[in-house]
Amino acid sequence: MANILIPSPFRQFTQNQAYFESSETSIQTALEALAQAFPDLRQQILDEKGHLQKYITVFVGEEDIQSLQGNETPLDVHSEVSIMPPLRGGAY
Protein backbone atom coordinates (compact mmCIF):
# COMPACT_ATOMS: atom_id res chain seq x y z
CA MET A 1 0.00 0.00 0.00
CA ALA A 2 1.27 3.48 -0.79
CA ASN A 3 1.90 5.56 2.31
CA ILE A 4 0.75 9.18 2.27
CA LEU A 5 2.27 11.66 4.73
CA ILE A 6 -0.25 14.16 6.07
CA PRO A 7 1.51 17.46 6.90
CA SER A 8 1.09 18.68 10.48
CA PRO A 9 -1.23 21.63 9.71
CA PHE A 10 -3.67 19.28 7.91
CA ARG A 11 -3.91 16.75 10.74
CA GLN A 12 -6.71 18.77 12.29
CA PHE A 13 -8.76 17.35 9.40
CA THR A 14 -7.59 13.73 9.87
CA GLN A 15 -8.20 13.20 13.60
CA ASN A 16 -4.49 13.85 14.03
CA GLN A 17 -3.59 10.92 11.77
CA ALA A 18 -0.11 11.45 10.32
CA TYR A 19 -0.18 8.78 7.61
CA PHE A 20 -2.82 7.34 5.31
CA GLU A 21 -2.36 4.05 3.52
CA SER A 22 -3.86 3.67 0.08
CA SER A 23 -4.07 0.77 -2.35
CA GLU A 24 -4.81 3.15 -5.22
CA THR A 25 -2.42 3.03 -8.15
CA SER A 26 -2.14 6.72 -9.10
CA ILE A 27 -1.78 10.05 -7.32
CA GLN A 28 -5.17 11.23 -8.54
CA THR A 29 -7.09 8.24 -7.23
CA ALA A 30 -5.07 8.13 -4.00
CA LEU A 31 -5.84 11.78 -3.27
CA GLU A 32 -9.50 11.14 -4.04
CA ALA A 33 -9.48 8.24 -1.59
CA LEU A 34 -7.81 10.42 1.02
CA ALA A 35 -10.39 13.18 0.52
CA GLN A 36 -13.19 10.64 0.74
CA ALA A 37 -11.81 9.28 4.00
CA PHE A 38 -11.46 12.78 5.46
CA PRO A 39 -14.05 15.08 3.84
CA ASP A 40 -12.87 18.15 5.77
CA LEU A 41 -9.47 17.72 4.14
CA ARG A 42 -10.83 17.80 0.59
CA GLN A 43 -10.87 21.54 0.01
CA GLN A 44 -7.33 21.81 1.36
CA ILE A 45 -5.88 19.54 -1.32
CA LEU A 46 -8.39 19.41 -4.21
CA ASP A 47 -10.39 22.10 -5.98
CA GLU A 48 -14.04 21.78 -6.98
CA LYS A 49 -13.02 19.96 -10.18
CA GLY A 50 -10.95 17.44 -8.25
CA HIS A 51 -7.65 18.94 -9.40
CA LEU A 52 -4.76 19.52 -7.04
CA GLN A 53 -5.02 22.90 -5.30
CA LYS A 54 -2.74 25.51 -6.83
CA TYR A 55 -0.32 25.90 -3.92
CA ILE A 56 -0.07 22.24 -2.92
CA THR A 57 3.07 20.32 -3.86
CA VAL A 58 3.03 16.53 -4.00
CA PHE A 59 6.13 14.37 -3.90
CA VAL A 60 6.53 10.67 -4.57
CA GLY A 61 9.69 9.73 -2.78
CA GLU A 62 12.08 12.58 -3.50
CA GLU A 63 10.45 13.62 -6.78
CA ASP A 64 7.88 16.35 -7.35
CA ILE A 65 5.02 14.80 -9.33
CA GLN A 66 5.26 17.73 -11.75
CA SER A 67 8.56 16.23 -12.92
CA LEU A 68 6.95 12.78 -13.17
CA GLN A 69 3.49 12.23 -14.65
CA GLY A 70 1.57 14.79 -12.61
CA ASN A 71 -1.68 13.47 -11.17
CA GLU A 72 -1.29 10.34 -13.26
CA THR A 73 1.98 9.43 -11.57
CA PRO A 74 1.71 5.71 -10.77
CA LEU A 75 1.99 4.38 -7.22
CA ASP A 76 3.06 1.01 -5.95
CA VAL A 77 3.25 -0.65 -2.55
CA HIS A 78 6.57 1.04 -1.82
CA SER A 79 5.50 4.59 -2.74
CA GLU A 80 6.00 7.28 -0.12
CA VAL A 81 3.75 10.23 -0.95
CA SER A 82 4.08 13.65 0.70
CA ILE A 83 1.50 16.41 0.43
CA MET A 84 3.08 19.76 1.17
CA PRO A 85 1.25 23.06 1.64
CA PRO A 86 3.33 26.20 1.05
CA LEU A 87 5.50 27.60 3.84
CA ARG A 88 6.38 31.14 2.91
CA GLY A 89 5.91 34.70 4.01
CA GLY A 90 7.60 38.03 4.11
CA ALA A 91 8.01 41.46 5.58
CA TYR A 92 4.94 43.12 4.01
Binding site: P7, E62, M84, G90
Partner: protein
Protein backbone atom coordinates in the same frame (compact mmCIF):
# COMPACT_ATOMS: atom_id res chain seq x y z
CA UNK B 1 -13.72 18.21 13.01
CA UNK B 2 -10.98 17.59 15.54
CA UNK B 3 -9.39 20.83 16.67
CA UNK B 4 -6.15 20.91 18.64
CA UNK B 5 -6.13 23.57 21.33
CA UNK B 6 -3.91 26.56 20.88
CA UNK B 7 -3.15 28.87 23.73
CA UNK B 8 -2.12 32.40 24.29
CA UNK B 9 1.18 31.35 25.88
CA UNK B 10 4.10 29.40 24.49
CA UNK B 11 7.08 28.00 26.39
CA UNK B 12 10.41 28.24 24.59
CA UNK B 13 13.78 27.03 25.84
CA UNK B 14 16.24 29.87 26.34
CA UNK B 15 18.80 28.19 24.09
CA UNK B 16 16.19 27.94 21.32
CA UNK B 17 15.45 31.67 21.56
CA UNK B 18 19.17 32.37 21.42
CA UNK B 19 19.58 30.10 18.39
CA UNK B 20 16.80 31.87 16.50
CA UNK B 21 18.10 35.36 17.34
CA UNK B 22 21.60 34.43 16.19
CA UNK B 23 20.29 32.83 13.00
CA UNK B 24 18.40 36.04 12.22
CA UNK B 25 21.56 38.11 12.71
CA UNK B 26 23.81 35.81 10.69
CA UNK B 27 21.33 35.79 7.81
CA UNK B 28 20.63 39.55 7.86
CA UNK B 29 19.96 41.50 5.66
CA UNK B 30 18.11 38.49 4.24
CA UNK B 31 15.23 36.79 6.00
CA UNK B 32 16.05 33.55 7.81
CA UNK B 33 13.67 30.65 8.41
CA UNK B 34 13.47 27.38 10.27
CA UNK B 35 11.26 24.90 12.09
CA UNK B 36 10.09 24.61 15.68
CA UNK B 37 9.78 21.26 17.43
CA UNK B 38 8.48 20.28 20.83
CA UNK B 39 5.43 19.13 22.71
CA UNK B 40 1.78 20.09 22.54
CA UNK B 41 0.38 20.20 26.06
CA UNK B 42 -1.69 22.59 28.08
CA UNK B 43 0.90 25.13 26.99
CA UNK B 44 2.90 24.16 23.93
CA UNK B 45 6.60 23.87 24.56
CA UNK B 46 9.32 24.54 21.97
CA UNK B 47 12.36 22.42 22.70
CA UNK B 48 14.28 22.62 19.46
CA UNK B 49 14.67 24.90 16.44
CA UNK B 50 16.34 23.80 13.21
CA UNK B 51 17.36 26.20 10.48
CA UNK B 52 16.57 25.62 6.82
CA UNK B 53 17.72 27.66 3.81
CA UNK B 54 15.55 30.50 2.60
CA UNK B 55 14.83 29.18 -0.90
CA UNK B 56 12.73 32.12 -2.07
CA UNK B 57 13.52 32.70 -5.76
CA UNK B 58 13.16 36.50 -5.48
CA UNK B 59 14.26 39.11 -2.96
CA UNK B 60 15.22 37.26 0.22
CA UNK B 61 15.46 40.55 2.12
CA UNK B 62 11.68 40.74 2.25
CA UNK B 63 10.46 37.20 1.55
CA UNK B 64 11.15 33.67 2.71
CA UNK B 65 10.16 30.32 1.25
CA UNK B 66 10.79 26.87 2.68
CA UNK B 67 11.53 24.39 -0.09
CA UNK B 68 9.05 21.47 -0.06
CA UNK B 69 11.92 18.99 0.29
CA UNK B 70 13.06 20.76 3.45
CA UNK B 71 9.50 20.68 4.71
CA UNK B 72 9.22 16.93 4.06
CA UNK B 73 12.49 16.38 5.94
CA UNK B 74 11.13 18.45 8.83
CA UNK B 75 7.99 16.30 9.04
CA UNK B 76 10.07 13.12 8.90
CA UNK B 77 12.42 14.45 11.58
CA UNK B 78 9.47 15.24 13.85
CA UNK B 79 8.03 11.75 13.40
CA UNK B 80 11.39 10.10 14.05
CA UNK B 81 12.20 12.22 17.10
CA UNK B 82 8.83 11.86 18.80
CA UNK B 83 8.36 15.62 18.84
CA UNK B 84 5.60 17.61 17.22
CA UNK B 85 6.33 20.00 14.39
CA UNK B 86 4.96 23.11 16.07
CA UNK B 87 5.58 25.79 13.48
CA UNK B 88 8.12 27.96 11.76
CA UNK B 89 10.24 30.98 12.58
CA UNK B 90 11.49 33.70 10.31
CA UNK B 91 12.96 37.19 10.50
CA UNK B 92 11.93 40.65 9.35
CA UNK B 93 15.31 42.39 8.95
CA UNK B 94 13.80 45.84 8.34
CA UNK B 95 10.22 45.49 9.55
CA UNK B 96 8.52 44.91 12.93
CA UNK B 97 8.13 41.42 14.41
CA UNK B 98 4.50 41.40 13.35
CA UNK B 99 2.89 39.11 10.75
CA UNK B 100 2.57 40.75 7.35
CA UNK B 101 -0.13 40.32 4.71
CA UNK B 102 2.18 37.85 2.99
CA UNK B 103 2.59 35.92 6.25
CA UNK B 104 -1.19 35.82 6.69
CA UNK B 105 -1.76 34.70 3.09
CA UNK B 106 0.25 31.52 3.64
CA UNK B 107 -0.44 30.90 7.33
CA UNK B 108 -1.74 27.56 8.59
CA UNK B 109 -4.03 27.05 11.51
CA UNK B 110 -2.33 25.11 14.30
CA UNK B 111 1.19 26.35 13.56
CA UNK B 112 3.11 28.77 15.76
CA UNK B 113 4.85 31.59 13.93
CA UNK B 114 7.86 33.17 15.61
CA UNK B 115 9.10 36.39 14.05
CA UNK B 116 12.32 38.22 14.85
CA UNK B 117 12.84 41.87 13.98
CA UNK B 118 16.26 43.46 13.68
CA UNK B 119 17.73 46.94 13.97
CA UNK B 120 20.79 47.44 11.78
CA UNK B 121 21.46 43.71 11.74
CA UNK B 122 21.02 43.17 15.48
CA UNK B 123 17.99 41.22 16.76
CA UNK B 124 15.79 43.45 18.88
CA UNK B 125 12.40 41.71 19.26
CA UNK B 126 11.13 38.16 19.09
CA UNK B 127 7.40 37.48 19.18
CA UNK B 128 5.20 34.42 18.67
CA UNK B 129 1.89 34.38 16.82
CA UNK B 130 -0.83 31.94 15.90
CA UNK B 131 -3.81 32.05 13.58
CA UNK B 132 -7.10 32.07 15.47
CA UNK B 133 -10.39 30.54 14.33
CA UNK B 134 -11.30 33.83 12.58
CA UNK B 135 -8.10 33.60 10.50
CA UNK B 136 -6.59 36.53 12.38
CA UNK B 137 -3.12 36.43 13.92
CA UNK B 138 -3.01 36.61 17.72
CA UNK B 139 0.11 36.99 19.79
CA UNK B 140 1.18 34.23 22.19
CA UNK B 141 3.15 35.36 25.23
CA UNK B 142 6.62 33.79 25.19
CA UNK B 143 7.60 32.10 28.45
CA UNK B 144 11.35 31.52 28.50
CA UNK B 145 12.24 28.18 30.15
Amino acid sequence: MHVSPLHSKIKIKAKVLDFILKHAEITSPQECCGFLYGQVGEIRSVQLARAVPNSHPGDKKVRFTVHPKDYIQAERFASASGMALLGVYHSHPRHPAVPSEEDLKFAHWGFSYIIVSLQEGISDRIRSWFLNSDDVFEEACILKI
